[in-house]
């Protein structure tokens, strides 16, 4: 295998060592390896396979393009709308008064919508809808009950021709009013309870939304302020960064960085423990 060029260029080895090496380097390739390699070469380099591949690839492309056209044409002919109106899929908006009330509260949604893609708007609208519905129902019940009582009393007064008759009628209406009073009170209590439940539910949903919003805000803030990639490349600097996080009481971030540090550099001394 040696050529004149190599022997002339760098005959560092010398004939004695070369001869000695040649005496021990007499191994030849095992026949099964020869067979395996030559078989692989024959399989890979056979013209038949190459030709097969050459016509298979364009055929695959043609098939794919044809199928795509067929699908699009089919949709066009059957009138399937591939992009339905988005307005139909959006939830209906809440009443204006409730919406105004809830939108006035600071939740940090706008910042989150831009920063992380999370939106608390659907949750808030749902809560507002529920509260408004419950309040409206309780109000309607109360108003209806009171209106009925007043109407009876008025009717009685107007229809009386004389005071005794009126008094008689009033007396006759009195039990009705008295009997309706507990019902009115019950309805009012029920309405109050429903209103309270609706308010609780709305507040709970709003609190959940705010909590998620705050968490995401904190997370995005910590992403910006925690140890950067340059710091993480050096174990000592990374440890210093974790210590700084602990010192500034950013314990969650310090805990996260410590865990990442131990995963990345298992053999390095552990950073300062985070309580």
């Amino acid at each position: 295998m040696r050529t004149d060029d190599t022997t002339r260029h760098d005959d560092e080895v010398g004939s004695d060592l070369r001869d000695a090496y040649r005496r021990i380097a007499t191994e030849t390739t095992p026949p099964h390896l020869d067979e395996a390699v030559l078989a692989a070469a024959a399989t890979a380099g056979s013209p038949a396979k190459k030709g097969l591949w050459q016509w298979r690839r364009p055929l695959a492309w043609a098939t794919m393009i044809g199928l795509s056209f067929a699908i699009v044409l089919e949709f066009n002919q059957t009138g399937v709308d591939l992009a339905p109106d988005l307005e139909e899929t959006l939830p209906q908006s809440a009443p204006a008064d409730v919406d105004d009330e809830t939108s006035a509260e600071p939740t940090g949604d706008a910042a989150l919508d831009g920063a992380s893609g999370f939106s608390a708007e659907p949750l808030r609208k749902e809560a507002a809808d529920e509260a408004a519905r419950a309040a409206r129902q309780s109000l309607e019940r109360t108003v209806a009950t009171e209106a009925e009582v007043e109407k009876r009393a008025r009717d009685a007064e107007l229809e009386t021709m004389s005071a005794p008759a009126a008094a008689e009628l009033r007396e006759s209406a009195e039990p009705s009013v008295k009997s309706l009073a507990p019902a009115t009170a019950t309805v009012a209590t029920e309405a109050d309870a429903l209103g309270a439940v609706a308010t609780d539910s709305a507040e709970r949903l709003r609190a959940d939304a705010d909590r998620q919003a705050n968490f995401l805000l904190q997370q995005s803030a910590s992403d910006e302020a925690a140890c950067d990639d340059m710091t993480r490349a050096d174990p000592a600097r990374w440890r210093e960064c974790i210590r700084a996080l602990v010192d500034t009481r950013r314990l969650d971030e310090a805990r996260l960085e410590s865990r990442l540090f131990l995963e990345t550099f298992p053999d390095e001394p552990a950073p300062v423990p985070v309580k």
Binding site: D10, E12, L17, Y21, T28
Partner: protein, 209 residues
């Protein structure tokens, strides 16, 4: 030697009735030309190319890793890569350089996969005395071979690699530097250290036990 082989092949091919004469043409093709022929689907060209390099490449892996099983795996892996790379092969350098660069990279990957690979002396020196050797001479010769084997296996991996690329692949220092990614001076220095240690091993006086 290459010239002699070329002359012999030309003479053989010029003879009458040789079935392989059209394939071999007038002069033996060099490695790159054979690889390009294989690129066009000529598997006979690959076989010719393979026969030129198979034993040297096998010994390279055998002595570099010191493990026969690993050598077989690496040998197959290297040739498989050569076969797969046939379509992208461009004869910008000697085929031998290309082949041993692939082989070297296969070995580096193997070492990374098996960081604690052991160097076992799997190569078994010939134990049969030749006809003109006395038993004493045979024993001495066997000891010298064993010392060389051991010295070769105890070389640092870089020095052993350079020595084997020089002796088995027949690469020059520049070509070895290209294969290993080291510069020429480092390569030369590694080869010099390797030769010094191996020579010390074969010149070592036999210790009486």
């Amino acid at each position: 030697m290459a010239v002699a082989r070329a002359e012999m092949t030309t003479t053989l091919c010029a003879g009458e009735g040789l079935a392989y004469a059209p394939a071999m043409e007038r002069a033996p093709l060099d490695d790159s030309a054979l690889m390009l022929r294989y690129q066009d689907g000529d598997t006979a060209a690959f076989e010719e190319l393979y026969r030129r390099h198979n034993d040297a490449l096998y010994r390279y892996f055998l002595r570099l890793g010191g493990d026969a099983a690993a050598a077989e795996d690496l040998y197959q892996e290297a040739w498989t890569k050569i076969i797969r790379a046939r379509s992208s092969y461009r004869p910008t350098a000697k085929f031998t350089t290309f082949l041993y660069r692939v082989a070297h990279n296969c070995f580096i990957d193997y070492v990374r996969r098996n960081k604690r690979h052991t160097q076992t002396a799997a190569v078994d020196p010939d134990t049969q005395p030749s006809a003109n050797e006395s038993p004493e001479m045979h024993a001495e010769s066997r000891l010298a071979r064993e010392r060389l084997e051991i010295a070769l296996l105890s070389l640092p991996e870089e020095q052993r690699d350079v020595f084997l690329l020089h002796e088995e692949a027949g690469l020059s220092l520049d070509e070895i530097a290209g294969v290993t990614g080291a510069n020429r001076e480092a390569t030369k220095s590694r080869l010099r250290y390797a030769v010094r240690k191996l020579r010390a091993a074969i010149d070592e006086p036999e210790v009486e036990t």
